[in-house]
Amino acid sequence: ADQIKVGFVSTLSGPGAGLGVDIRDGFQLAMKQLNGKLGGLPAEVLVADDQQNPDVAKQATDKLLKKDKVDFMTGIVFSNLMLAVGPAVFQNQTFYISANAGPSQYAGEQCNPFFFNVAWQNDNLHEAVGKYVQDKGFKNVVIVTPNYPGGKDAVSGFKRYYKGQVSEEIYTKLGQLDYAAELAKVRAGKPDALFFFLPGGMGINFVKQFVAAGLSRDTQLFAPGFSADEDVIKAVGAPMMGMFNSSHWAHDMDNAENKRFVAAFEKEYGRLPSLYASQGYDAALMMDAAVRDVKGNVADKKALQKALEAKRFKSVRGDFKFNSNHYPVQNYYLRVIGKDAQGRVTNKTMGTIFTNHADAYVAQCKMK
């Protein structure tokens, strides 16, 4: 090939747009640093909005596959959308480099040679929180999550490593606005820790109301990294301080690639990168390295797969490798929200929870 085409379908409108935009910006930043080339070949990134709607995502993907005949796909934020577009992508033998969505199906039984996840498996961040809460000896935990499969997964991920007492599992309506009733229950249960997984605006509402209710005095708040990243902090501000969360990346991680990335991102977009941005950035680097590896011959799918598996790029999160199911084996860190040197409210890395942690589904993956 003399040109590489990347299909980028992501959530760029609607309430979930912030995440998709961050992935896109991270990806585009890398492209800029690579002078618009992937593996030395001129590259074109075709961006489409999925509106957080599986049907639309499917449509957009079909177009990129059949009309534009892209070499790589990436961008999708949400698992349910990933599951909707996956079959078509794989059938078309196009490589999908997921910069966020990491459904358990694709980690386990439905793992696929054409699917790579450069972020994490959904459960990992929940597991990390569970581990930490367990290690710190919290005795009485309440869990709050929406009543849908993602929420149930979060609970089982958390409980995989937390073995203490869960006094209450509260399932809320997807898209709920007001959590007063739940908070009253929490207050009555007097837990020492609360773990919540409430994506998007739900999480923002919850944290604000949790703090206003004065519960932060007696109960320590925990969440996976994506409920406590820059987008949420920007909306909640100071009340978030002191909240613990887990992540495989943080903007203050001490390695050369990350410093370069964070500085460039801030310069380019005038804000701190989120973990989504880091994942988008890594996805581009990963494509670049693989294309270089196969010397631009992306038509050789076997070789390209080998090259991708080999992971010949330096990730901003430090070192990691791909498992046999093409999901990362990597470290997970504890972060806490506080003020940084410049007085901004943001995440600070506190320590490592897991080292070289894999996901729980890899055993079900028959791919070798």
Partner: protein, 315 residues
């Protein structure tokens, strides 16, 4: 508003359009644009869904904001059948229509006690209930939806190829439009249209108004169910997002854009809206602004919808 009546040129135009549409797959193939076949199929399916709403709304005068529920139920029937290993379309499609139609019958039986905006909202309420139930039904994939890996068989005719699905959708739409056209001019159609105009008067003329409305509502629901089953086969997924109220809103917008109560209003609306979306989406990141402005333009300058611009298909 007067009764629907086809203009004399309409059947001819419809036939010409049908022939042209029939020639589309080989044409697209010849120009290597077969991607657009998927888009065209989608347009046809949504044309069917919007037309089914037009039956309820334009002819029956019932503004339903829960029509997506029937579409979604049809899709889920198809997906659940797939999950159970039932691939025979001659079974699945009628089943989808029946289930959606029966559900519409139930919803209608309760909702049709109310009028106007109350009706709008109670239909919305039912759709929301269905939405939340499917979101939390983990056996059927919950929020992830229920995938369909293999398309239906119609007898021994497989829908696996895109062209086959396209022709099926085209056939379903053509049949539905033909039937709707007959229905609109037959006694039943006149009756529901008159009820739309003045319900108490119809009651005072001895018509059991409730029954006619209910049947009309259920018919619309059944056709939406058929569209849903086809849609799920096309996209390979039945997901709760099909049931969201915004989906009902989109169907409504299609009908209004096309022209409420014009036989082909739903068809025109679906094609215009999906076409606009396709055009704008690739052209401008903030395309919603443009779409919004276009819709405003339609309201202000073509208040009866696009179909109304083409001569009189009514009065």
């Amino acid at each position: 508003m007067a009764f629907h009546r086809s203009a004399p040129w309409q059947p001819v135009a419809a036939l010409v359009a049908l022939l042209a549409l029939g020639a589309l797959p080989p044409l697209l193939d010849a120009f290597e644009q077969s991607y657009y076949l998927g888009l065209a199929t989608r347009m046809l399916i949504f044309a069917l869904a919007a037309s089914s709403l037009n039956l309820v709304l334009g002819f029956g005068g019932m503004v339903s904001l829960g029509h997506a529920a029937f579409l979604g139920i049809g899709a889920y029937v198809a997906a659940i059948c797939h999950q159970a290993g039932i691939q025979q379309g001659l079974l699945v499609l009628p089943l989808a229509m029946a289930v959606a139609g029966l559900f519409a019958l139930l919803v209608g039986a309760i909702s049709l006690r109310t009028r106007g905006v109350y009706f709008i909202m109670i239909t919305l309420a039912f759709a929301q209930m269905v939405y939340y139930l499917f979101v939390s039904a983990s056996a059927w994939g919950g929020d992830d939806g229920l995938p369909i890996y293999e398309r239906l068989q119609l007898g021994s005719f497989s829908l696996a190829s895109d062209a086959a699905l396209y022709y099926t959708a085209l056939g379903a739409l053509a049949l539905a439009m033909f039937l709707f056209g007959r229905l609109a001019e037959a006694r039943f159609g006149r009756t529901v249209q008159a009820i739309r105009e003045n319900e108490t008067r119809m009651e005072a003329l001895g018509y059991p108004v409730f029954r006619y409305r209910l049947v009309c509502f259920a018919l619309g629901g059944a056709c939406a169910g058929l569209a849903g089953a086809l849609l799920a086969n096309q996209s390979g997924l039945a997901s709760p997002s099909l049931l969201q109220w915004t989906q009902s809103g989109t169907l409504l917008v299609m009908v209004i854009i096309g022209g409420v109560g014009y036989l082909y209003g739903g068809v025109v609306g679906a094609i215009v809206l999906l076409g606009l979306e396709e055009l704008l989406l690739s052209w401008f990141a903030h395309w919603h602004i443009v779409l919004g402005l276009l819709l405003l333009g339609i309201v202000l300058f073509a208040p009866k919808g696009v179909a109304a611009l083409f001569g009189r298909s009514r009065d």
